[in-house]
Amino acid sequence: MLRKKSGMRRRQFASAVLCAVMLLAVLSGCAERRELMEVRIAYRNTADRGTVFAFTERNLVVTDGERLCNLVLQLAMTEPEDETLTSVFPERTTVQSLEISDIGVITVNFSKEYGTLSGINRTIADYCTVLTLFGLEQVDGRTITGVMILVDGQGSRHVFTPEDLVTTTDYMRLQDYTFVIYFPNRETGYLEPQQFSRTLSDAEEPAKEIVSILMQGRMEDGTINRVVSSNAEFLDLSIRNRVCYVNFNEEFLDLPLLNGEGKSLKLYAFVNSLCELSYVDRVQFLIEGETVSSDLYEGFGGTYTEDDSLVAQ
């Protein structure tokens, strides 16, 4: 009973702090760029069932990246309204400093109270921080690639990512896949199929594995035959309504590998390979998350369907 009362007082106090923080954010934002953004705050789930982490969604008016990161962490440190969720941060924990590197790694320096956490509780707090910050996706135009956590300026230089976190059994259930990957043959001007076997967990998207294999290229006569330029980076992939959206950086546009008819063997290597998946019919390429048009590639702004005429018989 006492604990419940104490929890209620804590929640009231947290709500007051939250309102003040939001008001400050709004007021400070009035003088600068104002943007409404939906953010997800990670908390610990105390319900009997489900995963350890759960999220609440908030709409925030934000200005710059650091302020946004500070704001979401402040929210993560306050008790949520949902009584089945709880904040794992010790009381009076503050963010002493926060930096975002050029490569998208956010370094968060918590006050010494954070250091009182240990064992699995510390891990839960670390990942509440990581999941909350990764929920922002981009800060000041930079994609978040990792989070480094310091306590009072001290700590290991370990970079956390959500990929390092196992929260469900989906990561443990393995399945064997056989992919048919189409590699361009510059000499013949056709795509050549090659089978690859992989074991993936249910949490892993097979389409990402297909793109990764193509990004690595094919080993031929001791040398790697690249499909994309060495500077090209695969950023992200999503599948909606049987359309696979593959997101690359700008360098992906290099090395078009056109055949005699002006069709890009590179693009169709991805399209035909991804369309081998039963749940993909079309592929759309994105550059830095945007649809762009290109003179080198015909119809690059739209979606592609597989072209069997390019496959070597």
């Binding site: 064992g119 699995i120 510390r122 390092d164 976190l165 929260t167 059994t169 443990m172 393995l174 993936l200």
Partner: protein, 461 residues
């Protein structure tokens, strides 16, 4: 029928569900035991290390190699995976943050198994302790599609068997129910026919089941009804005829007196005498009909010990004038102990009727011999005459109402055709029997047997 089909569906559903749930529970319990045992074995093997690091854990685990198709993780207290038994998609170095691990790191064993997508997904987690301190956890995961498929195939086969059984049961039930309904309908039709007065209609019977027994009983009942109805009709017809004859005579005699104005007083007196005799006859007939009706009703009466021999001697005395009139000798050979439990008037009626018949249907100069005795618990009363006898074809009918062997002679002697019926009815009332036969030396013999009454010790008769 819909209700019956519904019941079958419910039963089939239960038959399908219960074994599956039991099998599922059994499998889950087996998994719980196996997985927690394995996890605890790993835990106890690792507890000797006192502190955990990836290499040492891997060394111990390679020695164990006991996890079969499952996947074993070993974590430190922070949930960092130090060992993952899977070679592909190995998660070593990742952080495992799941309710199962939290439970284990709190010092508790954990097990959860769910049957999803035709497979068992099970998780077990146990703490790794040293001197009471938790310094890691073992997490055991298993995705068992094989047992799931086994359960699924069991479900499928149960479904097939249940469907076949349900269809068979339904078909057989339909068959039986329609046959039963048809037979009951036949019975209802038969009851309707009999209710409408068609007593000759019989329900069709087949087999020896309860419906057939009911039909048999019904047929028996309607047979008796038919017989009774026939007897009633015959009786009414006979009674009407018997009553009509004297009435017609009375009318004729009365009309003669009325129409013949010049009739002498002597003739009138003769005619009135005849009318009086016809009225006496009518009275006699109606009295006997009333006696028979009383016997038919069979009101419960108190019977008393009656000495048949005494009654025979009294009847003989009463009939002596008639015997003298016909010049027939009456002789009685009676045993004193011939006792029966009856009414004295009833026994007198029996004996008197039989002896009167023996006199009336005898030859002048003949004899009537009455014999009473007791044998084998029965009191016998035998009336022999030296008369005309009874034709063999009539022997079985002479006790029927209004049946006469020689109608002209019977009326002439003042017979009503009811005397022997009254005898039989009365004898039966006392639990006895009466039968008639022809004597070899000529004449008829009537034999009456009634259970003998014996005085119990201390009882006076």
């Amino acid at each position: 029928m819909v209700l019956f089909a519904g019941m079958i569906v419910v039963i089939v559903s239960l038959v399908n569900t219960y074994p599956l749930l039991t099998a599922q529970d059994l499998m889950v319990e087996t998994k719980r035991g196996d997985m927690l045992r394995t996890a605890n074995l790993v835990s106890s093997s690792l507890s000797g290390l006192q502190s955990l690091d990836g290499e040492r854990v891997a060394a111990v685990m390679s020695l164990l190699d006991i996890y079969g198709d499952g996947r074993v993780f070993v974590t430190d207290t922070a949930g960092r995976i130090l060992f993952d038994s899977a070679e592909d998609a190995n998660l070593s170095g990742c952080s495992l943050v799941m309710p199962a691990l939290l439970s284990a790191l709190s010092g508790n064993d954990y097990f959860l198994c769910s049957y999803v997508d035709n497979a068992f997904e099970s998780s077990a987690a146990v703490p790794i302790t040293y001197r009471g301190e938790v310094f890691g956890a073992v997490y055991f995961y298993e995705y068992d599609a094989q047992q799931g498929a086994l359960l699924r195939s069991m479900q499928r086969y149960l479904g097939y068997i249940s469907s076949v059984l349900a269809i068979f049961t339904l078909a057989v039930s339909l068959l039986f129910s329609s046959a039963l309904r048809r037979r009951i309908r036949n019975l209802i039709v038969a009851i309707g026919e009999v209710r409408e007065g068609n007593y000759s209609h019989r329900a069709q019977t087949r087999g020896r089941d309860e419906i057939s027994l009911i039909a048999d009983e019904f047929n028996e009942l309607s047979g008796r009804l038919e017989e009774t109805e026939n007897l009633r009709r015959q009786f009414v017809s006979n009674a009407s005829h018997e009553l009509k004859t004297p009435l017609a005579s009375i009318k004729l005699l009365a009309d003669s007196i009325l129409q013949n104005r010049g009739m002498s007083m002597d003739d009138v007196r003769d005619f009135l005498h005849d009318i009086s005799e016809e009225i006496v006859r009518l009275t006699r007939i109606t009295d006997r009909l009333l006696s028979l009706t009383r016997l038919d009703v069979q009101l419960h009466q108190e019977f008393v010990p009656v000495n048949v021999s005494y009654v025979v001697r009294r009847a003989a005395r009463m009939l002596t004038p008639l015997a003298e009139h016909y010049r027939i000798a009456i002789s009685c050979e009676t045993a004193d102990n011939c006792l029966v439990k009856a009414e004295e008037d009833g026994i007198y009626q029996i004996v008197f009727n039989l002896m009167e018949n023996a006199l009336k249907y005898n030859h002048s100069g003949g004899s009537v011999r009455v014999l009473t005795y007791v044998k084998d618990g029965l009191a016998y009363c035998i009336v022999d005459d030296t008369g005309i006898g009874i034709p063999e074809g009539d022997l079985e009918h002479i006790f029927e109402r209004f049946y006469r062997v020689d109608k002209a002679r019977s009326r002439e002697t003042g017979g009503t055709g009811l005397g022997l019926s009254i005898v039989r009815k009365t004898v039966e009332q006392y639990g006895g029997e009466v039968r008639a036969e022809n004597r070899e030396s000529g004449g008829a013999r009537f034999i009456v047997t009634i259970p003998e009454w014996k005085a119990e010790e201390g009882q006076l008769c």
